[in-house]
């Protein structure tokens, strides 16, 4: 299969590379770029562990061909924060006990971000609805919703600086 050149922005940095057309975007991230924060829980778009943001919208990277990243702005969990400066959502998830096994956490954080970026002060039901594509088997969701709500009350987390 002939390879394709793709260009996209990943966590704020421009990237240009050649990919096989059958390569999944999640595999590009995990296998080729070593960004293993994006998880695979079901491989069929049901669990949301592989959630990334494409132009600000949360999508399942396990159902996305890598070639489709061409021309888009993509954010993964690695683009949210670092040890020195956690994203407000990351801080809230820790403080509220929203992290247990942690496998759903990266996807959950990104879905939360995609909500707060367009709707900084969502209602609790809106939060629940927006994370409905991210399954968590440990928490029962209450603490995750609490954490997102905490950031929403503080001003939506859109102003990190």
């Amino acid at each position: 299969m002939s390879k394709r050149m793709i260009k996209f922005v990943l966590n704020g940095k421009p990237i240009e590379l050649e990919v096989e057309p059958e390569l999944l975007f999640v595999d590009l991230l995990r296998e080729r770029l070593g960004l293993t924060g994006t998880k695979v829980g079901c491989g069929e778009g049901d669990c949301g562990a592989c959630t990334v943001l494409v132009d600000g919208k949360n999508v399942n990277s396990c159902l996305m061909l890598a070639v489709k990243a061409d021309g888009h702005d993509i954010v993964t969990v690695e683009g949210l924060g670092d040890y020195d400066k956690l994203h407000p959502l990351q801080e809230a998830f820790i403080a509220e006990g929203a992290v247990q096994c942690g496998f759903c956490t990266p996807g959950m954080l990104l879905s939360a971000k995609s909500l707060l970026d367009v709707n900084p002060h969502p209602k609790r039901e809106e939060i629940s609805r927006h994370i409905s594509g991210n399954l968590c088997r440990c928490t029962g969701y209450t603490k995750i919703v609490n954490a997102i709500e905490k950031v929403a009350c503080q001003g939506g987390g859109e102003d990190r600086e």
Binding site: G45, N60, C62, L63, K68, S111, N134
Partner: protein, 290 residues
């Protein structure tokens, strides 16, 4: 997965590419196609990614009709101000598809092309009298949506044809439309039964109706008999109940992992009853307001 990947940038390019091409599958949002390919249910030699074709995107209002580009995502549909104003039931249906992630990627054209009997936007589109424009290198044709489906996962699209647009009728004054869905969960649930209804109420009686149900047979269905029966009747609970009963008796659902056939029949009844109730309520509210 192994395939030749094509990404035409225009409809002309797409039509020319598909002309004579064997063993291909069109790829839009990929929320169904990718799953089927990963599960090896399909393994097309050619994957034609249409997502770069600008003319298949967007929502446009034309005289007496709304044009929906097949690449419009469920998210775009549910967020569209014009669609929410003119076809709220369709926006509601779009908001019930999969999850936020699926709605951000999945498209209306894909929902039709995938031909799942449980597709959520389809009953709403049917109730809004949707017409589908099918194009190919050999020309163009317009078909009522219910003529498109021939079986589970199968459409009438001929080799070389693609969905170029969807026309729906806006809900006017004195008219109402509603959508309802039953799933096992509130999100990420394949419909056990879904349905929609559209009615026109004039002078206190129903003068026209369209009812559609999904997940109660090999394809989504229109209930033409019940639609006819409704004409001339008063929009009242007993009439909705009788229409629901007719729906239960006319559908031929199957038993599967999600639901038994018997229960599906009962849900079909409730779906029709509730949709008619909500649709007529809307129709009469508009009457009063204007």
């Amino acid at each position: 997965m192994q395939f030749n990947y094509h990404s035409p940038k225009s409809e002309t390019e797409l039509a020319a590419l598909l002309n004579g091409m064997e063993d291909y599958c069109l790829l839009a949002g990929g929320t169904d196609v990718m799953v089927k390919m990963k599960e090896k249910l399909i393994s097309p030699r050619n994957l034609v990614d249409v997502s770069g074709i600008e003319s298949l995107k967007g929502i446009r209002e034309t005289a007496g009709s709304l044009w929906i580009g097949p690449l419009v995502t469920h998210r775009e549909l549910m967020d569209s101000p014009v669609m929410n104003k003119k076809t709220a039931a369709l926006c509601l249906a779009a908001s019930e598809v999969g999850s936020p992630q699926i709605r951000n990627a999945g498209t209306v054209g894909g929902n039709i092309g995938n031909a799942s009997p449980a597709a959520d936007t389809v009953p709403a589109l049917l109730a809004l009298d949707a017409k589908v424009q099918l194009n190919s290198a050999n020309g163009s044709e317009n078909l009522p949506l219910d003529k498109v489906f021939v079986g589970p996962g199968r459409t009438c699209l001929k080799s070389g044809q693609y969905i170029a647009g969807i026309h729906v009728s806006p809900v006017a004054a004195g008219e109402g439309a509603a959508f309802a869905k039953f799933g096992k969960r509130k999100a990420l649930a394949c419909s056990i039964v879904n349905g929609a209804a559209w009615v026109r109420v004039q002078g206190g009686v129903i003068t026209a109706a369209r009812i559609a149900l999904g997940s109660v047979g090999p394809t989504p269905v229109r209930l033409y008999e019940t639609e006819k029966w409704l004409v001339g009747r008063k929009p009242e609970p007993a009439v909705f109940a009788e229409a629901g009963l007719q729906a239960e008796q006319s559908v031929r659902p199957i038993d599967d992992v999600r639901c038994t056939a018997t229960h599906r029949g009962k849900l079909a009844r409730v779906t029709v009853q509730r949709c008619l109730e909500a649709a007529t309520k809307q129709a009469m509210e508009v009457c009063v307001c204007e």
